[in-house]
């Protein structure tokens, strides 16, 4: 295969940049991270023609090259660093026909960096309906670029875009306007001091506060920052940036007057009609509440079928391995350690996929911004921003992307509080624990005329509890934290769109895959360690278990099967893990748990979803794995050694649910919080606060209900 070039996709949020990226790369894409920071890096490969391959980078959405967040500084960083392996051979600026004016701002800035640039005008299929016409030839001439009309949604113009990319060598790098008129003298000084550097690049380095991460710059530029910054005061620079924006808009307005005609504006369009209902002071909130209710009911009801199937399948695989392969430690490791442990995570794929599906649809359709708008005033009272709603809702999938989603909250205090309370929301890792406990202790009955399932409602209550805990702690933190607010809040309200199947599908597949692979690795490792600890031990009680148990029950006439069961339990009790568990037991007994649950809780401090896998592994070792049993049946069969009756009863079940609702049991989240807040102080506070809340809530619940 021939040459490969770098193409960067740049553009405002909501221009369909990601749809275009998906069109160009299909499933031929991967999501990683930029080195050292947690910004998602989306790249993919596109075959341009027979001899040319394009490596396409989907840069985070940005309104300009003036950065206010870590995501935006990535864009600037990529475009400034000519030595980076990601530096584009050609930049594709994606704009949307209805917001052309605003979208062109960042285009004019990129042109000033003298990078070969193509302007894509997306959603061109709306031109006719909106009575918009455009003089493309004149536009190409005025902007010194090629302009391509595209509809990513309708799959139009993609070939033309590829053709334009293939001809990238013919693109001129000449800017389309002169922004240095805002202060000619100042820019001339810059030009004369650094004759080898692009003057606009120097300007960006001077004005951008890009020390969010570790950013490599060449020494020349370090020098510039240090010595030349004080030519102008901060306030002067800010004034100049405002002026620059005004000058760029003057150019754009002048251009659009010449090339763009809009015959009539349809005022009563879909947007205003939908907004009237969705932002209504009563209907707006009711609709939001019912959408949430629908999501939780759906997660609970629809995913039961694939989950039962997966649970059964894994139980069959275990017993198949046991009966097919010769007995021995290796077979045991698979049948009792790895397979049940993996089953504990695979079983939750349907629910996690559903959750990601709903969140993707809410984001894609433009509805999420409406929720932000509706909630801002309420959230502000608790020290949060309306934009905190997005992290809080996406926190129901996973706290890690949720913590990252706080980056577009402008105010540091609002952002910090959001980061600290987001882990209270019910993430998908809690779901496994909730579902299995709910199935065990809450009756499967319908109430309110059969409309709602009790178990589904309990799940909804747990989600509300998570939100409640988050909001309450935010209120406390807002009172306690001695940080001054200097908030401003600006949010685009995008047009409503029908979510594109391809975008939603790719999001769901990518996110679910990375969740399962990420969690799968931890669970696999923990399962193996647990199995070893549970299968081996030292001392007479462990090694002589068979003899001790046989003598103890000699008078009771037990069947061989019952006797085997007793022996296995005795062995487990005196295995390594038994000793560890007994050590923990005094701490967890007041909460209604036995030592096995204690082990499961301790191991789930690595990640919550390990809980079910851990119990599955422990019970599986105990039952010798010969008969086929699902995880749920095994848990239902456990009895409380002290109080008698089922171990998982209403009181201990509620206690466990509360413990998992509040406890900070996720190392990855703590790591992300450390990165985003740049200190260990906040994750440490978060961990102690949440875990203490969990312990006392669980203690209280069990002692009252037992």
């Amino acid at each position: 295969m021939g040459k490969s070039i770098n193409v960067s996709l740049i553009g405002n949020p909501n221009t369909g940049k990601t749809s275009l990226f998906n069109r160009l790369t299909g499933l031929n894409q991967q999501v990683g991270n930029y080195p050292g920071i947690t910004v998602e890096k989306k790249e993919g490969v596109c075959k341009i023609d027979r001899s040319l391959k394009a490596h396409i980078l989907d840069l985070p959405g940005t309104y300009s090259l003036n950065t206010t967040s870590i995501d935006e500084s990535i864009v600037v960083e990529t475009l400034l660093n000519r030595n980076s392996k990601d530096f584009p051979d050609v930049a594709v600026v994606v704009s949307d026909i209805e917001n052309l004016k605003r979208n062109l701002l960042v285009f004019t800035q990129i042109k000033d960096l003298e990078i070969p640039t193509i302007l894509v005008i997306n959603m061109a299929d709306r031109m006719e309906r909106k009575a918009i016409s455009l003089d493309i030839d004149l536009m190409q001439k005025e902007l010194n670029t090629s302009v391509v009309l595209v509809s990513a949604r309708k799959n139009q113009g993609i070939d033309e875009l590829k053709k334009a990319i293939a001809n990238y060598k013919q693109l001129t790098t000449e800017p389309c306007m002169n922004a240095s008129v805002i202060d000619t003298e100042y820019f001339n000084t810059l030009r004369n001091t650094y004759p080898n550097q692009l003057v606009y690049k120097l300007w960006l380095v001077i004005t951008q506060d890009v020390n969010f991460g570790k950013l490599d710059r060449n020494r020349d530029i370090e020098d510039l920052k240090k010595h030349k910054f004080d030519i102008k005061s901060e306030a002067d620079l800010k004034k100049m940036q405002h002026k620059e924006t005004v000058v760029r808009y003057q150019f754009i307005n002048g251009l659009l007057k010449k090339v763009l005609t809009v015959d009539k504006v349809n005022a009563k369009d879909l947007r205003s009609r939908l907004d009237r209902i969705l932002l209504h002071k009563v209907w707006g909130y009711l609709i939001f509440f019912f959408i949430l209710l629908l999501i939780f009911q759906a997660i609970y009801d629809w995913s039961t079928y694939p989950m039962d199937w997966i649970d059964g399948t894994f139980a069959s695989i275990s017993s198949w391995i046991n009966s097919t392969f010769p007995a021995g430690p290796f077979t045991d490791l698979f049948a009792e350690g790895i397979i049940p442990g993996l089953g504990g995570i695979v079983i939750f794929i349907p629910q996690i996929a559903f959750l990601f599906l709903f969140i993707a649809i809410l984001e894609e359709s433009g509805y999420m911004s409406r929720v932000v708008f509706l909630m801002d005033h309420i959230m502000k009272r608790f020290g949060l921003s309306g934009k905190s709603v997005v992290p809080l809702v996406s926190g129901t999938a996973c706290a890690i992307p949720a913590v990252m989603a706080t980056r577009n909250i402008e105010d540091w205090k609002e952002r910090l509080i959001t980061i600290l309370v987001v882990p209270f929301t019910t993430c998908s890792a809690r779901l496994p624990v909730y579902l299995i406990i709910i199935a065990l202790v809450i009756p499967d009955e319908r109430i309110l005329g059969g409309a709602f399932n009790m178990q589904g409602l309990t799940l909804m209550l747990l989600y509300l509890l998570g939100f409640g805990a988050a909001i309450f702690s935010a209120w406390v933190l807002n009172k306690v934290l001695p940080i001054k607010r200097k908030a401003f809040f600006v949010m685009e309200m995008p047009a409503y769109k029908l979510p594109m199947f391809k975008n939603v599908a790719i999001t769901v597949i990518e996110k679910t895959k990375s969740f399962v692979v990420g969690a799968g690795k931890i669970i696999m490792a923990i399962s193996i360690v647990l199995w070893i600890l549970a299968s081996y031990g030292v001392g007479d009680q462990f090694n002589g278990a068979e003899q001790i148990v046989t003598e103890k029950y000699a008078s009771q006439n037990l069947s061989q099967e019952e006797l085997d069961q007793k022996i296995a339990s005795h062995e487990l009790e005196y295995s390594f893990i038994g000793y560890i568990g007994k050590g923990i037991e005094p701490a967890v007994r007041p909460l209604g748990y036995d030592w096995k649950i204690g082990i499961a809780i301790v191991s789930s401090f690595a990640a919550r979803e390990v809980f079910v896998g851990t119990l599955a592994t422990i019970y599986s070792v105990e039952s010798d794995g010969e008969e086929e049993q699902t995880i749920k049946n095994r848990m239902a069969a456990e009895t409380n050694p002290i109080l008698g009756g089922p171990l998982f009863n209403f009181a201990s079940g509620i206690s466990l649910l509360l413990f998992y609702a509040f406890a900070m049991q996720c190392m990855s989240t703590l790591a992300i919080v450390k990165r985003e807040t740049n200190s260990w102080k906040w994750p440490a506070i978060q961990f102690l606060f949440m875990t203490a809340a969990a312990y006392f809530a669980a203690l209280g619940a069990f002692q009252i209900l037992k």
Binding site: Y63, S64, N66, T68, E98, N99, K101, R102, L105, A235, K238, K239, Q241, H242, T245, V246, Y249, R271, S272, D275, R276, L279, K281, G284, Y285, S369, V372, F373, L374, D376, H377, I378, K380, G386, E410, A487, F488, F489, V490, M491, E492, M493, P494, A495
Partner: protein
């Protein structure tokens, strides 16, 4: 000031006048909030805050505390 964006009634349109750079974030300028541009009050959220504007075709939401800093000129 009683002639600011915050004082516009629902559906009312006005022209943005000068404002102080210190009070208005650059991001808002980038989204088209510039002197001379047209601004329409689309609606305000329940509890009157934030407010939903159409500035020169861009739909955006800002808080009332920012809106009171931007003065406008109303047409008769």
């Amino acid at each position: 000031m009683s002639n600011t964006i915050a004082h516009l009634k629902r559906g009312e349109t006005a022209i943005i006048k000068e404002f102080d750079e210190i009070d208005v974030p650059l991001k808002l300028l980038e989204m088209g909030c510039l002197p001379g541009n047209r601004v329409t009050m689309m609606q305000s959220a329940p509890f009157k805050d934030p407010i939903y504007l159409d500035i020169n075709g861009t739909h955006l939401a800002i808080r009332r505390e920012t809106a009171v800093k931007i003065s406008v000129e109303r047409h008769g």
